[in-house]
């Protein structure tokens, strides 16, 4: 066995996994606050990549402006979707809301195809390209910077959830909406903010994903891996999204290297099924205890 090679595969897996993790956190945020399984998260991520492309390549804005443009357009989409599509579905069956998010995903994919065409595009380079070595192991610079950025966003999300009043309000809403409403928590605002922040985070992740692999209207399949991540980690657990993201990233990297790219999904979805059988609420998810 070539340890150096294994290390490199492992590091690349961590890099990809960090992006799964950060997108998973966006998914978890929405699920925690609103109990909506948002299958459009991959397409919102895609939209972030295209917004960056539009700003950086279309309007020739520098990357440090294009990045906030992408994040803000994600936030805007989150706000509009929550108010326009999700809020009116309040009280409907979860399956209906779930279907709405699937429809939203198709609409977003169609939208970018109409505006930017169906061909894959490359984002303008904006990260330093000097090669990075950890010890002797080579690490693609984009993957390394993507990893760092994702970890920063993750740390920010986790500490906001733990220490800010908004985080407390979110946790209370997640635990019991009626009780949260009655103690003075503005539950509709928690809904809005969770969608806004989550979609902004996903759009930011889209820029990183796009910088590494390019953008295309089918980029939303990234969301499929994220779905595996959050089911493995637990739909309502930030820590679960982090651990699940890194785990699935590394597993995919090894599966892709040793079995071939076509086996990635086979392996990760098998893990998902295994987890569902052994711990249906995920590795870190809340095991709902009902004592009556």
């Amino acid at each position: 066995m070539d340890w150096l090679f294994l290390t490199e595969v492992f590091l690349a897996g961590l890099g990809a996994g960090a992006l799964y993790a950060v997108t998973g956190v966006a998914f978890v945020l929405i699920y925690k606050a609103t109990r909506v399984v948002n299958l459009a998260i991959g397409e919102i991520l895609m939209l972030g990549g295209y917004a960056f492309f539009g700003a950086a390549a279309g309007w020739h804005l520098p990357a440090w402006i294009a990045l906030p443009v992408a994040v803000l357009s994600g936030a805007l989409v989150g706000a509009v979707v929550e108010r326009g599509l999700i809020r009116p579905m309040l009280g409907e069956s979860p399956i209906s809301v779930f279907m709405v998010t699937i429809g939203l995903g198709s609409i977003l994919a169609g939208f970018v195809q109409v505006v930017w065409g169906a061909d894959p595009l490359r984002l303008p380079e904006f990260m330093p390209s000097a090669p990075i070595f950890l010890g002797e192991a080579y690490l693609a610079p984009k993957v390394a910077y993507g990893f760092l950025a994702a970890m920063l966003v993750l740390a920010a999300c986790v500490s906001a959830l733990r220490f800010s009043r908004g985080g407390v309000a979110l946790k209370a809403t997640a635990a019991d909406q009626g009780a949260a409403y009655s103690v003075g928590i503005d539950v509709p605002r928690v809904f809005s903010l969770s969608w806004i922040v989550a979609c902004a985070v996903a759009a930011g992740a889209g820029v990183l994903v796009g910088a590494i692999g390019g953008i295309s209207p089918t980029m939303g399949v990234f969301g499929l891996s994220v779905l595996v991540v959050v089911i493995v980690g637990g739909l309502d657990s930030m820590v679960g999204a982090l651990v699940g993201g890194l785990l699935i990233g590394v597993v995919e990297a090894f599966a892709g290297t040793f079995l071939g790219g076509e086996y990635k999904f086979l392996v990760t979805f098998s893990i998902m099924i295994l987890v569902l059988m052994l711990r249906p609420y995920g590795l870190f998810g809340t095991h709902e205890i009902e004592r009556l």
Binding site: F163, V168, A172, S182, V183, G184
Partner: protein, 272 residues
Amino acid sequence: MTGAADDVILSVKGVSLAFGGVRALTDVSFSVRKGSITAVIGPNGAGKTSLFNTISGFYRPRAGEIVFGGRNLAGTAPPERARLGLARTFQNIALFRGMTVLDNIKLGRHAHMQTGLLDALVYRGRARREELALRAEIEERIIDFLEIQHIRNAPVATLPYGLRKRVELARALAMRPRLLMLDEPVAGMNREETEDMARFILDVKEEWDVTILMVEHDMGMVMDISDHVVVLNFGQVIAEGSPATVQADPAVIAAYLGAGDLGRRLSAPEAA
């Protein structure tokens, strides 16, 4: 009873509520006097919880108005009503699962902290710190008062039913309400637990200067501690007055006769 308007903390005036074609409340009117314990009773499905949900703002009435502390509540959302001094508990206990008893109680003061997302990270000066200290002191008093010191750091999900009811009451008290609405505070409790809860409710009224509005099925308890009783049946007020008046009211006895045992207990309540 002097009928002075400033004596009244809550008045419900001609409130009607419907879900599609189902009329949950029809022209319901009554008032709650400051410093009283007012009980709403009635058979199952009479609309008691619907009435509570309308007062706390979860449902919007089709007609009528609710005036709390001289202010018409129309168009105010539940968080705003909480800030005005309206606190409640729920029939099926709504605690924040996964959190400890103390965290649950602390969330009760959320209503009064008018700060944004980032404020928690910003230093806000001495006045602010003193206010926080004061709140912590109040929380300690509440915990002592309700005799839940021993479970303060326990996760609420692990607690037995009676204690969870008490924690929910503690959280409502931490909101420092002017009107406390209790939805079936002793439902499912045994004799001893019921007596404890009745004592707590009386003490809340006396020591904390809080007006109580409660929905309750336990007739013995209602008749023992209430000052005023409102009887609902099929969404309408069929009687109201002192416990003795209500008990003697033929309409009330008739409404309860379907429940047999309850009807008899109403007309001949057991000695407490």
